[in-house]
């Protein structure tokens, strides 16, 4: 056989041997252990750290919130409803520890780990706030074709406009029980009457104020009155006069005063007719909380019917310009023009408060 053919065959054989050796050398040792794949990869994939860790982990520190949630409609396993902590709060990961957070994707890549799994993008560890605007709640509760009828859904515009859900609902126990909120004051009205002498100079002896710039107190919800006095005392609601008055009041004093004033009958002050009808048209967004006629269904929120128009107007303007702040009212007031405020004040001032 010619020399060049022999040499060619030697070359081909050498290449084949080299190729086969290289293949054997470079093939992973765990390959083919279980099948046509790298056997070690199974345990590598299984070794990833779970980031969602379940309610029990959250409960170990946040018992109060857990208890509120556990008794709420968000936890009704019998109905197949189980809105666990991480549904709204997101994955707990290694919260609250800052150390030991699994290395991120790029970090693992840089480390040159053999099995680079997709580490989740870590938010700042230590905090797991749920979003406080509507987005968290409406993911499940916005009325939408396709959602099963059993799912509690609301028409956003009619329900609360753009107000954040948490201003009325506790997300851990979202159901608001109006029946449990009686307007029956705990305080002693007689003791309150004695104390009320200090208030009478401005708010009148029976809670009908002597000046339309100051609010009537007669017939107002006791719960609201207490909240207001507490806010004056704590400074949450800044007012020079009232801060001084409230500073000397104990919790029991406030309850007694509230019991006294809430038991007095209110009196409609009346206002300009034209403004009243304009104000009525503008009152739809107020009605959700304060009732269609200005009598609120929830004792935590004030009745507006029969209140002095000057006081109402000043209050709304104060919310609007930031003098007072409130999660709902501040945003509502910003949507109102000065004329709207005048008209609304007139409407509520002339509304029947009984």
């Amino acid at each position: 056989m010619p020399k060049h053919i022999m040499r060619l065959m030697v070359l081909v054989a050498a290449a084949a041997v080299a190729g086969f050796s290289a293949k054997t050398y470079f093939t992973d040792k765990s390959y083919y252990r279980y099948g046509h794949y790298r056997g070690d990869s199974v345990a590598e994939i299984a070794s990833d750290t779970p980031r969602f860790r379940g309610n029990a982990y959250c409960k170990s520190c946040h018992e109060k919130q857990y208890a509120a949630w556990a008794g709420s409609p968000h936890n009704k396993p019998s109905e197949g409803r189980h809105v666990q902590c991480e549904v709204c709060h997101g994955p707990v990961g290694l919260h609250p520890a800052r150390e030991g957070v699994p290395p991120s994707f790029d970090e693992r890549l840089a480390l040159g780990a053999k099995h680079v799994s997709f580490g989740a993008q870590d938010g700042p560890p230590g905090k797991l706030p749920a979003r406080k605007d509507q987005t968290e709640c409406i993911q499940c509760h916005e009325a939408m074709p396709g959602r099963p009828a059993a799912q509690r859904q609301v028409e956003l515009a009619a329900h609360a406009g753009t107000a954040p859900c948490v201003s009325c609902h506790d997300p851990h126990a979202p159901k608001i029980s109006f029946s449990g909120m009686t307007d029956k004051p705990k305080g002693n009205a007689a003791a309150g009457k004695v104390l009320s002498a200090n208030c009478a100079a401005c708010h009148g002896p029976a809670g009908a104020s002597t000046n339309p710039a100051w609010p009537n107190l007669a017939g107002q919800h006791a719960a609201y009155l207490i909240t207001a006095l507490q806010a004056f005392k704590s400074g949450a609601r800044p007012n020079e006069m009232m801060a001084g008055m409230a500073a000397g009041l104990s919790d029991a004093d406030m309850e007694n005063l509230a019991a006294y004033f809430s038991g007095r009958s209110c009196k409609v002050s009346g206002a300009d007719k034209a403004k009243v009808s304009l104000g009525k048209k503008r009152s739809a967004s107020c009605a959700l909380c304060h009732g269609p006629a200005g009598v609120s269904p929830n004792p935590a929120w004030p009745d507006l019917a029969g209140q002095n128009d000057a006081y109402l107007g000043a209050t709304l303007k104060s919310f609007k310009d930031g003098g007072r702040s409130h999660p709902v009212m501040s945003s509502v007031a910003k949507t109102l023009s000065d004329a709207d405020i005048d008209n609304l004040a007139a409407f509520y001032a002339s509304a029947n408060c009984k």
Binding site: H4, V12, T27, Y31, D106
Partner: protein, 394 residues
Amino acid sequence: MIGTMAQAAPYVGYVYPNETDIPWSVLIVIYPYITGLVAGAFIVSSLYHVFGMERFRTVARFALLTAVSFMFFVPVPLLFHLGKPQRAFNAVLTPHWTSAMSAFSYVAGFYICLLLLEIWFAFRADIVSLSKTKGGLLGRAYRILTLGSDDVSGNALAIDHKFAFALAVIGIPAAGGLHGYVGFLFGSLKSREWWSSDLMPIIFLLSAVVSGIGLLVVLYVAYSKFRKAALDDACLQGLAKTMWAFLTVVLLIEGLELLEMFYKQLEGIEMVQRLIEGPIRYGMFLQWGLSLMVLATLSYLILTHARGRILATGMFAAGIGMMLGVLAMRWNVVIGGQELSKTMKGLLIYYPEILGHEGLLAVLFIFLCPFIVLWLVTRFLPPWEPEAGKEVSS
């Protein structure tokens, strides 16, 4: 983050969210296209080497060099497209044989070796004589290629010829396998209506041959013009008839496939129709328009026994037309298949990027490379026999 985010494709109707990131880009259009050119060029050389069609003697060795120059660049678009090109050898280390794709490295590797061996046998006498006349680095390269043997006796050349013949015989099914495999790659996927077809390997193979002959004609005519060499009319007529025959069959099968698809009226046929009328309408227009024009041109050249200038011009135009037509066909298959959603409820629209490693410029660059390599290779191993025309010393 490493790497770039792919552009999400716009869509109409409903498509699965993951589909909006179109997996196979224009690089995968050029891959079967280049493979096809190889197959076509090789078939022409086989017609001479195996079937003894003497009229193809002129281009037989040139066809081999064309085939190998393009074959070198078949894996390049694939490597450009891989998310992890550095791991490409995993498919060689642990080929998963239920996957058509795992065979690629073996089929392509085998085919490149085969081509190189065949070229070596076909050019050995030239290599030996060049090793004696050339000096310097080039001379050393020739001397290495002789494997230290300058035996060009009649006996040795006869043995060479038998080897070359055997290799050419093996090469035909290998070329068929290489390209039929590409068709199988698409045709075997049940997930895509536009690809899933038993005819896909045959269509790919036949259109490959047509485009490869087209390439060879274009190169032969252009190269002869450049060398100021006379064209071999008999050879061109032979190429015209071969091209005509393959083109007729391919058009018939493609037409029948479309007809069957629309005749069966399976679920989702409306979307197939909207695909043809929509995203790939220009592609379909090019593919069918050019194919029919080329068929008409070839028929005219054959029927009139055209010679000389008319034949050369006609064949050059037919070659270009066929190369473009088959390129359009590859686009229609590869891109069209992905533009038709797996939901059969929507269409996606693929826009190739211009820059970037999966862009049109990269494709153009990859496609130009084999031409440059071919030019260098023909300088290194001149394929033209002296009697074929006026010899130009290189």
